[in-house]
């Protein structure tokens, strides 16, 4: 593993630990970046525990930095750092720190936009331009959101802690949303290459930690199962030439059996609790996709009907229409898309185009493909849609 790899794997963990040690997000980030700069100079080969090396170095750099400053807070923070006994955390960053930081970033007192941006920055180590590109928002907007969120955390005194059990229902939802979005961005990047494996891996790792901390929350298990079952199919998503391969055409022998087995077990475990929420139902849908040699679409449609009740969003309506097409045919599926409004989302016209092709309405399909191609930001998806459009011969 090279330094870039260590950075991607350890950045979030190290920042989380330093935030606990320093009580200040900005200082923690600066210290971790300092430590990576030192590593770049000093490492000939990787130390046995790169994360611990970075944490220790960052802590020492932070003490140096605080020594140079003379404010009361700096002296106070320095005293805290120097008198902190060497806890076992020093050996390797403790996972609890990250959960604490996720819950801090996803505090309901922060705006939903700020939560995602801050979590992607601090826990996934994404840079501002990357986050801006992912959300199709100008860079200064993202930078400003992050600065504002950090300022509110500091000034309003949002604590670094995992909330108590009775607060969880309110606090857990945004955390799950952020992990889900982080994974989605990795799975189908908004721009550039299609898949970002590091981002998917990070989201899964954080979901695992959350599940270990809250094994009794069915939606946490549901989210983890959803991510695992989606990730399991990744090796089959791109063909030999890097082209997109849709689910029905995928080579199922390439799917990751271990992840599928783990995901299925989790789905069974949370369904036993009989408190189905959106993530559990989506996990169940993916369990059907990964069960046996072909998807049982009628079962998928039943689950989408259920999902639409608990999560009546246009995205769910769009995905449900795909199941309708498989079970009841493209005419009814096209009707199911009536009134679905997703401005700027390429998969709506792309799906409509697919239904129109099946109905033999090629001219309308071509127009819908054109619309989808214009909206798709991702090269792989654009290439896929362009090929479909070309195959029409219109």
């Amino acid at each position: 593993m090279d330094l870039d790899g260590v950075y991607r794997a350890e950045y979030g963990r190290c920042v989380a630990t330093l935030v606990r040690l320093l009580g200040d997000i900005n200082l923690a980030e600066e210290a971790v970046q300092d430590a990576f700069a030192v590593a770049l100079e000093k490492w000939d080969s990787l130390p046995p525990n790169p994360g611990a090396w970075i944490v220790t170095t960052a802590r020492n750099r932070a003490i140096d930095r605080l020594r140079r400053e003379s404010t009361r807070e700096a002296r106070h923070a320095q005293a805290l750092l120097l008198h902190q006994p060497d806890e076992p955390e020093e050996v390797g960053p403790v996972r609890d720190d990250q959960l604490r930081l996720i819950f801090t970033c996803c505090h309901p007192a922060l705006s939903p936009d700020a939560r995602t941006a801050l979590t992607l920055r601090l826990l996934a180590g994404l840079e501002v331009p990357e986050i801006a590109r992912a959300y199709l928002v100008p860079e200064p907007t993202i930078a400003q959101r992050i600065v504002r969120a950090k300022k509110k955390i500091r000034d309003a005194g949002i604590p670094y802690r995992v909330p108590a059990a009775e607060e969880l229902p309110d606090r857990l939802a945004p955390v799950l949303t952020v992990l889900y979005l982080m994974f989605n961005e990795g799975y189908a990047a908004t721009a550039g290459p299609l898949i970002r494996t590091d981002l998917c891996a990070e989201a899964i790792r954080l979901a695992r930690e959350l599940a270990a901390l809250m094994p009794d929350e069915p939606e946490v298990l549901g989210l983890l199962a959803l991510l695992l079952l989606t990730e399991a199919r990744r090796p089959a998503r791109l063909g030999r030439d890097g082209e997109l391969v849709l689910l029905p055409a995928q080579d199922r022998s390439l799917w990751n059996r271990a992840l599928i087995a783990e995901g299925h077990a989790l789905v069974r475990r949370c369904l036993r609790r009989n408190r189905p929420g959106p993530y559990q139902i989506q996990a169940a849908i993916n369990a059907v996709h990964t069960d046996g040699d072909a998807t049982d679409w009628s079962q998928v449609l039943v689950l989408y009907d259920q999902l639409q009740v608990v999560l009546p969003t246009p995205i769910v309506a769009l995905n449900r229409a795909v199941a309708v097409a498989e079970v009841h045919g493209p005419a009814l599926a096209l009707a199911a898309l009536e009134g679905v409004d997703l401005p700027g989302y390429h998969l709506l016209p792309a799906t409509r185009a697919d239904f129109l092709v099946r109905l033999g309405r090629d001219a309308e399909a071509a127009a819908a493909y054109d619309e989808a191609i214009a909206l798709a930001g991702n090269e792989t998806e654009r290439a896929f849609l362009t090929a479909r459009r070309a195959a029409l011969g219109t």
């Binding site: 404010t71 009361r72 007192a109 309003a156 005194g157 949002i158 604590p159 802690r161 909330p163 607060e167």
Partner: protein, 117 residues
């Protein structure tokens, strides 16, 4: 410890509740005040007279002017507040939830600037 302002806003022109409703609210607020004091979070609290009793004073360039009415031109005006001492925002928000139930209205939570060094 940090200090937080828990502010209650009144919307101008909203009819005054019936006396028995008002009395119920006073009792509720009184009870929560006792709890805040018992928990050691109490700094100060009070209800304000309506915004039309306000006067704005401006002292600029050696001359002082006064204008009748509140500073902010808005229908929502500060109606009362608590100043609490809490470990962190979560503690302040937990009190705010109970204060909101007691006074039957939204409560805005704002941290005070830290004491200067």
């Amino acid at each position: 410890m940090k200090q937080y302002l828990l502010a209650v806003h009144m919307v101008e022109g909203t009819p005054m509740p019936e006396p028995d409703v008002m009395q119920k609210m006073y009792d509720q607020v009184d009870r929560i005040n006792q709890e805040i004091k018992a928990a050691g979070a109490w700094v100060f609290a009070g209800g304000l007279k309506p915004a039309d009793t306000a006067t704005v004073v401006r002292s600029e360039g050696g001359s002082t002017t006064m204008t009748d009415g509140p500073f902010a031109e808005t229908k929502e005006q500060l109606g009362g507040f608590w100043v609490l001492q809490c470990a962190d925002l979560d503690e302040a928000l937990a009190w705010a939830a109970r204060c909101s139930a007691a006074c039957e209205g939204p409560v805005e939570v704002r941290p005070f600037e830290d004491e200067p060094a």
